[in-house]
């Protein structure tokens, strides 16, 4: 029997991406002999999603208006007290600043570097393929391992990279231990870990652009730079904006890097919002879950607004680029 053709993984991703970016829907279905078995098929997943996603989602808002702590005794509703407290909490504004600072520098660095490398590597020869898989390596590694390695390499006393930089004549700072340089260092390590992933997505998009477009441009006498601006960029704009949106969402939820490399220090200069939530709810007495939930809701709103604005903005930018 001939094996039926399956859709490729990347094709699925493309449709998913379209679905998320444009909310389009279209479906075709086959009739089941019996409805009961269909419900049995979805039952395990629906139970798990209900218990561990839907209920917590609603509960989160409820807990945020209580004074619940981790021992869950004497819980009472306190209205919006947690939220008013949040807006006068210096560590919240500090963490918000840090998360925004991290996001505003890390996302352009990661996406920009990936884009630059895409220009060099969007071919399917052996060299480009090999380098793309090398760049992808850090993405496979856990942030814990990456954080440990870079903390040691950048240690001002015995770190190899810190030593090399000093030898090369750079007046090196204490990197992760210096309040001024800690966040830029965390940003650099994060971009180092993630650019290979962005590159993979962008390169796949570039390779999907029909070659005939470039040939036509060649006939019209377009140079490489013009081809890049007028064909490549519009051709992969959907992917670029997808990368910008998802990297931004991820960056606003940054936790692992700072937890492993700096524990939020020095002087709380790298403490992010998620880290502060974790610290308040699970690390420091009195394990104030109500307050932690309120900060989660606060972060959720910030991220939702950012996503909304960014989607309008970058998608619109794409339309302009097309015109």
């Amino acid at each position: 029997m001939e094996k039926p053709k399956e859709p490729s993984f990347s094709a699925v991703l493309c449709t998913l991406r379209e679905k998320i970016m444009t909310n389009s829907k279209k479906k075709k279905k086959y009739v089941a002999q019996n409805q009961k078995s269909a419900y049995l098929f979805i039952l395990p997943s629906m139970i798990i999603l209900s218990v561990f996603v839907f209920i917590p989602l609603i509960a989160s808002f409820v807990i945020s208006i209580t004074d619940m702590n981790i021992f869950m005794k004497d819980v009472s509703f306190v209205g919006l007290k947690n939220f008013t407290r949040l807006f006068s909490d210096n560590r919240v504004s500090n963490a918000t600043f840090n998360s925004l600072y991290f996001t505003l520098l890390e996302v352009p660095l990661q996406v920009g570097l990936a884009l630059l490398l895409t220009v060099c590597l969007a071919k399917n020869n052996r060299y480009c393929k090999m380098l793309r898989s090398v760049y992808y390596l850090p993405f496979v590694c856990s942030m814990t391992a990456i954080g440990i390695v870079w903390s040691m390499l950048l240690d001002p006393n015995m770190g190899l990279v810190a030593y090399w930089l000093k030898q090369a004549g750079f007046e090196t700072a204490a990197f992760l231990k210096d309040p001024k340089f800690a966040m830029p260092t965390v940003i650099a390590v994060t971009a180092w870990k993630g650019f290979g992933y962005t590159l993979t997505l962008l390169a796949a998009a570039v390779l999907n652009i029909p070659q005939s477009l470039y040939e036509a441009a060649q006939m019209d006498g377009a140079g490489s730079f013009q081809k890049f601006i007028h064909i490549t960029i519009p051709g992969i704009w959907a992917t670029i904006s997808f990368c910008i949106v998802t990297t931004t969402i991820g960056a606003m939820q940054m936790f692992d890097q700072a937890y492993v490399m700096t524990q939020g220090g020095p002087l709380n200069k790298t403490e992010t919002v998620v880290q502060y939530i974790y610290d308040r709810g699970f690390q420091t007495a009195p394990y104030d879950l109500g307050y932690a939930s309120a900060i989660s809701v606060y972060l959720f709103v910030i991220v939702a607004v950012m996503t909304f604005v960014l989607r309008r903005f970058v998608l619109k930018g794409g339309e302009d680029a097309d015109a």
Partner: protein
């Protein structure tokens, strides 16, 4: 004309140099970790630091168990990441199959709701999730780690897309033969989805193997921690010497690196999805 050729070669040469230098920057820390895990205690903290060890030794690997509960942590990570992968592949594909191939009341609404949950960031459900797992008396247990991850909206979506692409004559032949719905799913449809299952499986395995905040929150005792959570805590407390830390870090990376070398294609396809998850 000649000038133009010269220009192109110059640009190409610059491109090669640039991409090569970036590749070196990527590889050095990983190679450094590999060779440094064979250094002696003195070699690790030697100044000025050297890239390669002066004296190669297996000491750090032989005695890593004395300072870090590496065996338990590896076991926990394998059970957690492996358990989540196997169970969620089953549940994801069952649900995906139903949404793709069966017609039932409410399927459209349910499917849209599932898609929406992909947009829910983890930290908004983090606190209530902790309370639930606590109330179920599952904190610090394998079940408590695996159960909340035993299915995923992304996996259901992905599998349903694959099932939709298969011809419908397949299950009809099964029905004519009088097979049960589950038999049709299990013995006819599932074998056709192997590539999708491998990609999705690697995606789940890697995400859970590397995850930090989730296992950190749901485990409290040292011997129930996963590799990434346990190492992060131990290193954060600064109680561990550098030598064993390097060996333990290398051990935590090795399984995924080996898997990556042999299943690169599936890795890249499967993991390219992680952005969607966030």
């Amino acid at each position: 004309m000649r000038k133009k050729i010269g220009k192109i070669t110059l640009a190409a040469a610059f491109g090669y140099l640039f991409t090569f230098l970036i590749a070196v920057t990527v590889l050095i820390p990983i190679l450094w970790l590999l060779v440094s895990s064979f250094k002696t205690d003195v070699g690790v903290i030697k100044f000025p630091p050297r890239f390669f060890p002066e004296e190669w030794t297996l000491h750090q690997y032989l005695y890593v168990g004395d300072s870090i509960p590496i065996f338990e942590m590896t076991k926990n990570t394998v059970i957690f990441a492996g358990g989540v992968t196997v169970i969620s592949l089953l549940f994801d594909s069952m649900a995906g199959y139903a949404f793709a191939r069966m017609r039932f009341k409410g399927s459209k609404v349910l499917f849209s709701i599932i898609l929406l949950t992909m947009m829910v960031p983890f930290q908004i459900i983090m606190t209530p999730l902790y309370i639930e797992v606590y109330k179920l008396h599952l904190l610090d247990s394998y079940l408590g780690l695996i159960l909340p991850r035993a299915t995923s909206a992304f996996g259901i979506y992905m599998m349903s897309s694959f099932f939709q692409g298969l011809p419908k004559s397949l299950e009809e032949s099964g029905r004519i033969d009088g097979m049960s719905e589950f038999r049709i799913f299990w013995s006819i449809m599932m074998p056709l989805c192997k590539p999708a299952l491998v990609s999705l499986g690697i995606f789940h395995f890697m995400n859970n193997w590397n995850d930090l905040l989730y296992p950190l929150m749901l485990t409290s005792s040292q011997n129930k921690r996963t590799l990434s959570a346990g190492l992060a805590v131990l290193v954060g407390n600064k109680v561990i010497k550098y030598g064993p830390t390097l060996a333990a870090t290398m051990i935590s990376l090795t399984p995924l690196l080996i898997l990556y070398i042999f299943c690169q294609k599936y890795f890249i396809e499967g993991v390219a999805a992680s952005g969607v998850k966030e």
